[in-house]
Symmetry: C2
Subunit: 213 residues, 2 copies
Amino acid sequence: VIVYGRNPVREAQRGPREVTRVWEGLPDDELERICGSPDHQGICAEVAPYTYADPDSLLVDEDAVVLALDEIQDPHNLGAVIRVAEVAGLAGVVIPERRSAEVTPAVCKASAGAVEHLPVARVRNLADWLGEAKEADAWVYGASADGIPYGDPDYRGRVVVVLGAEDKGLRPRVAASCDELVALPMRGKVEALNVSTAAAALVYGILQFRMQS
Amino acid sequence: VIVYGRNPVREAQRGPREVTRVWEGLPDDELERICGSPDHQGICAEVAPYTYADPDSLLVDEDAVVLALDEIQDPHNLGAVIRVAEVAGLAGVVIPERRSAEVTPAVCKASAGAVEHLPVARVRNLADWLGEAKEADAWVYGASADGIPYGDPDYRGRVVVVLGAEDKGLRPRVAASCDELVALPMRGKVEALNVSTAAAALVYGILQFRMQS
């Protein structure tokens, strides 16, 4: 796999993936031919394939916070959410195997390399996994405009926050698998936040709740 | 000016700008030639130039919250921050005249059209304007890793939140013009949030503070 860009290459070197080769200082078009993207910022690297985490390992910690993403197909959005999760110190991100962006070099770039330091797990069926998470003592919150105010719940203990694609929201079976639906206040004329900014608002709200309780 | 994309064209039609012509249903390459971008999603429109707001008008309300951006040069980041500000119901966004992205069609697209409904003001000198904001009874918070925890201040009344470019942060004179520097908790290995996710975390933190006080 060829990752590209300054942050992605640096973080791959600092993270667990083996880096077998780095190209730097070549003409732009040569780098673009190697990595397949014009966004290489003058550097790309050959690295081992990304290793996904075991989804059950994410909820071992008794105060783990995990983000689950329901069919987020845009690599930029997936990368941006992974960056939020890593910076906030979450236990990991869960994505479904199908109809979801996977961890491609474009996602590495959009995450500013954060994906090298964050467990990302894939599950066959997201609704089923949310059921298992509940059995593992997690409380599952789905982000939805129909939800209760997001500041209301008690966010202690294991928490999973589920976010849907911005145009479609959560699928009905996924929404039904949540313990509670929560909503960010929307006070404007446009309909919704981007999924990464919604993730940031929710995740930092949860961290803030925990610091105050 | 030619704006492009489904949301930007729809929001231009709903907002104050005059829309003089809409192109839809043409071949993709023809639309791309008209608007100059491949991201048109099958639609573009000719609209009146964007009208910037008077910066002083943003602080009229006694509980106004304004985001000020110190030299954010990436149009995607500026658009994404404007979208957060509009969805959260803020009074507006302030940008400096120089070394900042302006409201171009690319910014309209990145804001999902939110810029049509949000006052954006340009100022000659951001540090000077922050001084004027303080004289107008606003409390000015700069986002900085060196700051106090962002959950500590009392965010009632007029508030200005200043965000810098993610690689450079606030310029020294801008940081010195703030009443207080505030920091989001950073618990990961990568250095910082993207400016739009930082804006979302801070702005929703402030709204949450106000709802609880």
